[in-house]
């Protein structure tokens, strides 16, 4: 018989209470139970990084966490980056400007990894940014425009955190 638990998770500032199977991973919970399909699944073994979300402010693989592990915690997904009026987060705007996405499948994970990294790093150099996204696979862009976008947005992202 399936083992079902009731969990409450605060996602992008909104609280959700759902009954879930204990074996359901967090990414499936977000996508299937809450229709937050911005989080993507690329490998389901924790390497590609497309499913990266923030749990309590830290970038994590939502395919390697069970939904029940997020009980009573806060999660930020890519849907939570833009402002309520739809204006883009500085890193999103920089991606758009620098053609930082082609197919866009890795983009949610890239954005979350970068938001998490840039929040804590003032003026990172190119090498540090490449290191920060070394857990996110992209098959389209060759990474260069993503790095350029991050370099440009770094100041704005760090400042935001300080506020």
């Amino acid at each position: 018989m399936p083992d079902i638990r009731t969990i409450t998770v605060t996602i992008n500032g909104k609280s959700f209470t759902r009954r879930v199977e204990t074996r359901m991973h967090l990414a499936d919970f977000l996508r299937q139970e809450l229709d937050l399909t911005g989080t993507h699944l690329g490998c389901e073994h924790g390497v590609c990084g497309a499913c990266t979300v923030m749990l309590e402010g830290d970038a994590v693989r939502s395919c390697l966490l069970l939904a029940v592990q997020a009980d009573s915690k806060t999660v930020t997904t890519v849907e939570g980056l833009a402002a309520n009026d739809g204006s883009l987060h500085p890193i999103q705007a920089a991606f758009q400007k620098h053609h930082g996405l082609q197919c866009g499948f890795c983009t949610p994970g890239m954005l979350i990894s970068l938001v998490s990294f840039l929040r804590d790093h003032k003026n990172p150099d190119e090498g540090a940014i490449r290191e920060a996204i070394s857990g996110n696979l992209c098959r389209c862009t060759g990474y260069q425009p993503i790095v350029d976008a991050a370099l440009e947005a770094a100041a704005a992202c760090y400042t935001q955190h300080e506020e």
Binding site: G42, C43, E44, H99, Q102, C103, S134, R139, C140, T141
Partner: protein, 764 residues
């Protein structure tokens, strides 16, 4: 794909063979079918009698195919690769479907497997398919010029032998299919991650005995294509049959573990060539033989062998070529085009020839390229080859020396020797390598485009070819906006849906810009002409006095005499009581299938500068320079994106990506911990310089840009590694070049030439 949810939709999962080659004596689905939440468990027998003896139909028939072996929709009595579909479970959700898979009992008797393409034609080799007489799928040659004379008159003949391994698709989004069937209304609707919705419509209709008009294929925005998603797959058919049988929508989403074995991949090619050269370094002729691994089935017909052969002799004016190809079956995932589709293999072969000549004659490899490149005055240049479509292969235009010079300037090739010597004094080993290529792009036969002005003034554009991230909508909108005289923001493009645009082909071979671009330009011109003619009548002036700007037709120099395009569209679509203006057809719209007069040929040169750590074998790319010519660029930012991404894919092929099988045909690299994709930390910054030699074959001068970065990349990187290790006499025998193998080569070389021996299965 997985974002799409339909009411009442069920989820499917496939049971796949765990054996590379085995006979199946029984399949017991009883327990699986009884699991709560399971709606159907299907084996081949359950699909209907019409499918029992009907394997997948050949999407690319060709008279040269000797054995047209394709899989049954689900395994019948034998499986020929790990990952082959055996049964399908449809359940309330994927979790339950996978639970049920574990309850299906299959009785397999393993059979010997053939894995190495180089051994597939040995008389003692196991047969990939028990009922086949041998493993030969097809055999043909491509020959032009007088190779016999070339070798007779040669000063030098060099023998080269190399294996090419290209790895798989690995789009970040795996494949997926959703099927919905309504018998009384629309028929079958299939959402697929395909690159080629029109091919899928045709093949599904044939496979299921439906008229094409009852099949609609929608290819939504998906996470990358890169070739393997252009194929026709059993999952598309079986998911459709399940939806028809159950009367409910069925979704199948491939997971990454499946992708490693079930999505077609590019397979090994083993080449053995002789190169005839004079003592100045001119290549007089190339002859030899290649074995191409087809994997277990001919899922793409002979498409890849032909796209490998057709680009020979690349950008070089080599007058005599005779290369024999054997296409063989092995018990591995079927062969598929992957970004570049054989062209990287052809480029690599020609660049190996150049390197062999340069090494043999102790010449600068750049100079050997320079003297062999086709000169500007030789265009249009007929290579001597005949394309499979029966027409001679002709390079339309270019300046190949120009791209070589530009790449050399960008990468400071002239200053490299100094950098190399300086590094050497610090015990660092630097090398530089060049890869040049020509790319036949924009292959036909056609794509179409409709441009329609809405009475609101918005411009609606419809076309066929699906987009997997290339930016098709952007470039089509640009062309229509410019051609019609409307703001870019007011152009809305719909693509990738056979229900929205009647005919098309698909997204392969850097063809969409050329094919759709040419049709869109033509359709926009027709709409413009009609708008001008109507406005001339309405404003009582000559059409020649009119211009269109920002969606307004107006009399030049008299801005107050104007009419908006939306107003023209409104007046051309009157309702009851109105009348269509005399001399006009209803609507402000046009459809065009205008095509390029032939495939335009792009050209490019890559230069890699690397450092090899001789203790660890680590290769670091220090500098990477690209000169590229895709004719007139519609959107330079998109072209740069294609080039950089393409180069990185090629670097991945050269250094990292390796799909390894053991001798029993078990894949050993089925996670991203084992199969290495290029990471941000390993990739260099890539510098690009463009050259624009417009193609004379289409009005906008377009040439394709989707694969030109990938095609010469592996050749450049491998040559750079060899150059760094010249003092050790290292000559690379196959790629990817892993650190462990490099250390072995450096050690074995010990100052002498070491042509790398190839093992049965490339080691990890």
């Amino acid at each position: 794909m997985d974002d799409i949810k339909l009411p009442g939709m069920l989820q499917a999962a496939f049971l796949r063979s765990p054996h590379a080659h085995a006979r199946i004596s029984s399949i017991d689905t009883t327990a699986a079918a009884q699991l709560e939440g399971v709606h159907a468990v299907l084996t081949l027998d359950d699909l209907g009698p019409e499918h029992a003896d009907r394997p997948m139909l050949q999407a690319y028939p060709n008279p040269r195919i000797k054995q047209n072996i394709l899989p049954h929709l689900l395994a019948r009595d034998e499986v020929a690769l790990v990952g082959q579909t055996v049964a399908l479970v449809v359940a309330d959700n994927r979790y339950i479907a996978e639970d049920a898979l574990a309850l299906i009992e299959v009785d397999y008797q393993p059979l010997p497997a053939v894995v190495d393409c180089r051994k597939a034609l040995d008389s003692a080799a196991p047969k990939a398919h028990s009922s086949a007489p041998n493993n030969l799928a097809a055999s043909f040659s491509n020959t032009f010029g007088d190779t016999e004379a070339a070798f007779k008159h040669a000063d030098e003949v060099y023998e080269i032998d190399f294996l090419q391994h290209r790895g798989g698709c690995h789009a970040t989004e795996c494949r997926g299919v959703i099927a919905q069937y309504s018998p009384h209304q629309d028929g079958l609707t299939l959402w697929s991650s395909t690159q080629c919705p029109y091919l899928i419509r045709r093949m599904l209709a044939r496979q299921l005995d439906l008229p094409e008009s009852r099949v609609r294929v929608i290819a939504p925005n998906v996470g990358g294509g890169f070739g393997p998603k252009a194929g026709f797959y059993v999952e598309e058919v079986v998911t459709a049959i399940a939806a028809i049988k159950l009367g409910r929508p069925v979704k199948w989403i491939e997971d990454r573990r499946e992708h490693f074995t079930a999505t077609n991949t590019q397979r090994d090619q083993h080449w053995h060539l002789d190169v005839a050269a004079d003592n100045k370094g001119h290549i007089l002729g190339v002859r030899g033989r290649a074995i191409l691994d087809s994997g277990a089935f001919l899922s793409y017909g002979l498409l890849l062998p032909f796209t490998t052969l057709a680009p020979l002799p690349g950008p070089y004016a080599v007058e005599a070529v005779n290369v024999q190809f054997d296409v063989v079956f092995t018990n591995t995932t079927p062969n598929s085009p992957v970004r570049g589709a054989g062209r990287p293999n052809a480029a690599y072969a020609m660049e190996r020839c150049i390197e062999a000549v340069a090494r043999g004659l102790q010449l600068d490899p750049a100079e050997v390229r320079r003297i062999n490149l086709i000169k500007q005055e030789q265009f249009p240049y007929a290579t001597g080859q005949i394309h499979p479509n029966g027409r001679p292969i002709v390079y339309d235009s270019g300046d190949y020396i120009g791209t070589l010079d530009k790449a050399m300037a960008l990468g400071d090739y002239a200053g490299f020797k100094k950098r190399q010597v300086a590094a050497r004094q610090q015990d660092r080993y630097l090398g530089i390598g060049i890869g040049a290529c020509v790319e036949d792009t924009g292959v036909g036969p056609y794509e179409g485009c409709t441009v329609r002005v809405d009475p609101s003034g918005e411009v609606l554009v419809e076309s066929g070819a699906a987009d997997q991230g290339q930016g098709h909508r952007t470039i089509i909108a640009q062309i229509v906006a410019d051609g019609l005289g409307v703001p870019f923001e007011r152009v809305h493009v719909t693509i990738g849906d056979t229900g929205k645009f009647p005919q098309g082909v698909g997204t392969i071979g850097s063809r969409v810009g050329v094919n759709v671009g040419t049709a869109a330009n033509d359709a926009a011109a027709s709409v413009r002409k009609k708008a001008l003619e109507f406005a001339a009548k309405a404003l009582e002036v000559n059409a020649a006095e009119l211009e269109i700007e920002a969606g307004i037709v107006r009399v030049t120099h008299v801005p107050e005499m104007s009419i908006a395009l939306g107003e023209v569209a409104l007046r051309l679509t009157p309702m009851t009581g109105g009348a269509v203006p005399e001399g006009f057809t209803p609507g402000l719209e046009a459809t065009s299938y205008a095509a390029s007069k032939g495939p335009p040929h792009a050209n490019g040169v890559n230069i890699a500068e690397v450092e090899v750590d001789i203790d660890t074998g680590k290769v670091k790319i220090l500098r990477y320079s690209v000169a590229h010519d895709c004719g007139t660029m519609i959107n330079p930012m998109i072209v740069d994106g294609q080039l950089i991404g393409g180069v990185v894919h090629g670097i991945g092929n050269a250094l990292f990506e390796q799909m390894i099988y053991d001798e029993a045909g078990q894949p050993q690299t089925t996670t991203y911990a084992d199969y290495l994709l290029p990471l941000a930390t390993e990739m260099p910054r890539i510098d690009i310089v463009h050259q624009e030699t417009p193609s004379p074959l289409n009005p906008l001068g377009l040439k394709g840009a989707g694969e030109g970065g990938t095609i010469p990349a592996a050749a450049a990187v491998v040559a750079a590694i060899e150059n760094a290790l010249e003092s050790f006499g290292v000559v690379i025998g196959y790629y990817p070049v892993t650190p462990q193998r490099l250390v072995e080569l450096i050690t074995a070389g010990a100052g002498e030439r070491c042509v790398e021996a190839m093992s049965t299965t490339p080691p990890a």
